[in-house]
């Protein structure tokens, strides 16, 4: 056994050596002058982050670069990162940036343009294959036609639906239109053991993300191309009424839930379906956490128009305040490489490369993988302008108030519209 492993190891090493000879580039060689450097990676507590941290010793061994990983939940990630960037302290060298923050960070000058590293032959792995990233996810790292990082985490909102539960109650899944969706919630709602749907309706970014899916499903929009606010039009009101009605078939606590509570409930099988980010597919299949291994299926969010899947991914960037930018780039290149992404799939990591999604073995094992193809083509985006944070604050409060029963739908939307309009005006878009 040991001998066999040794032989394999030798073969792998030989192949690696040959590859590096053939292209004249190796990570070890490229990292030589950065050996001994310590870089800090601030990231969200997401599956790819956990996986990269697990695989980290390989990188550290080859390069001699030490990487300290710091994980934070979504809003707190920004608390830490932005403080560092604003003060130019240079604590962090690699930053996992949500695409909706791009405008804000780039405009404030906190993120390094990436081309200078992407085109530096000393640093770039010629085998890296940038074309392999989903075009959609590339778009997420771009601002004004320039790239600001490599796509790291594919985060798309699907409808997670539990096939076993749907079958048990004789409901055909997945629902295709909002009407079918609502009727499936009603049929599957058997409280307190099973609820028709989960929701992430806390006063938090999560409620805004989920509500946006519903808004798009009703062909609504936050604002149109000319930045006229549309959210309180007829579609907006219908969508929000629909969203409010969902609470009738959801567990009582959903107004305090974010995505992590949705995950837990899905894993426990206490909700039949929910809108959720695809990066959680791995935890659905992890027997240590999940009671529903093998039961979950994935579909675009039911819609009256084009299918809706809300894209929310992130990429790895280098802050301008970093003092180890080249070493940081090497780390980013490694962490988003095909090899790392492929090996991460079994660990529940969510890749961003087409080639990884195409592996048939993964598609058989993880139903969410084949869903990504269609989703990547039909995805909705949330705004990426710097004013988005303030919009989230306004919408999170108003939509949460609606579902918590504190405010009427029309009043909430009519109150948000002028505030969002004012933000757009202040930002100089109209």
């Amino acid at each position: 056994m040991f001998r066999k492993n040794m032989v394999w190891l030798l073969v792998v090493m030989l192949v690696l050596a040959l590859a590096s000879v053939a292209y004249g580039w190796s990570l070890e060689e490229a990292a030589k002058q950065y050996a001994g450097v310590t870089i800090r990676f601030i990231t969200e507590t997401t599956p790819p982050s956990y996986w990269v941290e697990e695989a980290l010793p390989e990188f550290e061994k080859v390069t001699g670069i030490k990487v300290i990983v710091e994980r934070q939940a979504h809003p707190h990630l920004e608390e830490k990162a932005l403080m560092d960037f604003a003060s130019k302290t240079g604590i962090y060298d690699v930053f996992n940036m949500d695409y909706s923050w791009t405008g804000k960070y780039v405009k404030a000058g906190y993120i390094e343009p990436f081309e200078q590293y992407m085109n530096n032959p000393k640093l770039v792995d010629p085998n890296n294959g940038l074309k392999d990233f989903y075009p959609l996810m590339w778009q997420g790292t771009m601002w004004d036609g320039k790239a600001y990082g490599y796509p790291f985490d594919s985060v798309i909102q699907y409808l997670f639906w539990n096939k076993t539960i749907f079958d048990k109650y004789g409901v055909a899944g997945p629902p295709k239109t909002p009407d079918e969706w609502m009727s499936s919630m009603e049929k599957l709602n058997h409280p307190p053991d099973l609820y028709g749907t989960g929701m992430m309706a806390k006063r938090h970014l999560s409620v805004v993300c989920e509500w946006l899916c519903v808004l798009w499903a009703f062909k609504g929009q936050l604002y149109d191309d000319k930045y006229s606010v549309m959210l309180n039009d007829e579609n907006g009101i219908k969508a929000t009424e629909f969203y409010k009605k969902m609470t009738k078939f959801a567990p009582p606590g959903v107004t305090t839930w974010t995505w992590d509570d949705v995950s837990t409930a899905l894993q426990q099988g206490t909700i039949a379906q929910s809108v959720q980010w695809d990066e959680n597919y791995g935890s659905m299949e992890n027997p240590e956490e999940s009671k529903i291994v093998g039961q979950m299926r994935y579909a675009p969010v039911p819609s009256f128009g084009d299918p809706v899947s809300h894209y929310g991914g992130s990429s790895l960037c280098v802050p301008t305040s970093s003092k180890n930018k080249e070493a940081a780039f090497l780390f980013i290149q490694w962490a988003t490489s095909q090899d790392i992404q492929k090996r991460g799939v079994g660990k529940g990591s969510s890749p961003t490369r087409v080639s990884v999604y195409e592996v048939q073995e993964f598609r058989d094992k993880f139903p969410s993988f084949s869903a990504t193809d269609t989703a990547a083509a039909t995805t909705g985006w949330r705004p990426r302008i710097p004013e988005w944070d303030d919009m989230v604050e306004i919408l999170a409060l108003e939509i949460n108030s609606v579902v918590a029963g504190a405010k009427d739908v029309k009043a909430a939307l009519d109150d948000s519209a002028p505030k969002i309009d004012a933000l757009l005006k202040k930002g100089g878009y109209k």
């Binding site: 560092d84 003060s87 837990t264 206490t270 935890s283 956490e289």
Partner: protein
């Protein structure tokens, strides 16, 4: 007599209820720390289950809590020492001498204790980042002194006032200098007060969250911040939260047990001699 016995029975019942209500969440915390993930999310909540140490182990292996405990310890110890070293002297001066404007000085010191931390945290954050102190233990030592120092002054003043002035006068007649009278006579006598004050300062710093949350990132991260960090985007790690929280509270419990006689006095800034 009959009446009195009834009163005792009622009193015992009330104490029983208080104890039950106080300890229930704490016991639940300890039970949770010993549960597997699936048991934690069980409905209805489980009281009997197979216990596991997994949460404690993963808190230290996966979540790296050891350096955070070290940070908390160092920061709390240093700020306690600094506040005591400076504050005790000030307290003695205020307790023994008439000073110009001493009433205003005392009130001012008290008012800094009442300062809402949220008011201070913003300027501290901006200053710290500009001066490169962000995420350092030194910064938290300084910041925690803002609430520990006024506390030391107020409570030590009350302890000093308990010691009769005649003792020092007698010592000075015996040839002690003012400083020696303070250092060799008064200070040893106020040892219980000093110990109580030190322990309370330590507890306040050990438990502090808001400043530490804003002013640290990774290197100087303390335990409370780490515990809050277990509320992740993927799931809330209740098992590990419970494990670390029960460990975090142990030193506090031991200290409280040791100095409980003076805790009320400490928490009322020396005003109520419990």
């Amino acid at each position: 007599m009959e009446n009195n016995r009834k009163k005792v029975v009622i009193a015992i019942i009330i104490i029983g209820i208080i104890l039950f209500v106080n300890i229930l969440p704490f016991l639940w915390l300890i039970l949770t720390s010993l549960k597997t993930r699936l048991d934690i999310f069980a409905i209805p909540p489980k009281f009997i289950f197979h216990s596991t140490w997994k949460n404690f182990i993963s808190a230290f292996t996966k979540r790296n809590f050891l350096p955070m405990f070290y940070n908390s310890l160092i920061i709390s110890a240093c700020t306690t020492f600094l506040s005591l070293a400076v504050g005790t002297l000030g307290a003695y001066s205020l307790a023994r001498f008439k000073l110009f404007g001493d009433k205003h000085i005392s009130f001012w010191i008290l008012s800094t204790r009442m300062f809402p931390p949220i008011v201070l945290v913003i300027p501290f954050f901006i200053m710290a980042t500009r001066w490169g102190l962000h995420d350092s233990r030194l910064l938290l030592v300084i910041v925690y002194t803002t609430f520990n120092l006024p506390f030391v002054v107020w409570i030590m003043r009350s302890f000093f006032e308990d010691i009769p002035y005649d003792l020092e006068k007698a010592a000075m007649v015996d040839g002690y200098s003012r400083w020696d009278a303070f250092w060799k006579v008064v200070l040893p006598l106020s040892a219980p007060g000093l110990v109580t004050t030190a322990i309370l300062c330590f507890i306040f710093s050990w438990n502090e969250f808001l400043f530490a949350n804003v002013l640290t990132a990774a290197m100087a991260k303390t335990v409370p911040v780490g515990i809050r960090g277990l509320v992740t985007s993927r799931a809330v790690e209740w098992g590990e939260i419970a494990a670390v929280a029960s460990l975090q509270v142990i030193p506090v419990l031991i200290f409280t047990f040791a100095v409980q006689k003076y805790i009320i006095r400490g928490l009322t800034l020396g005003a109520v001699k419990g």
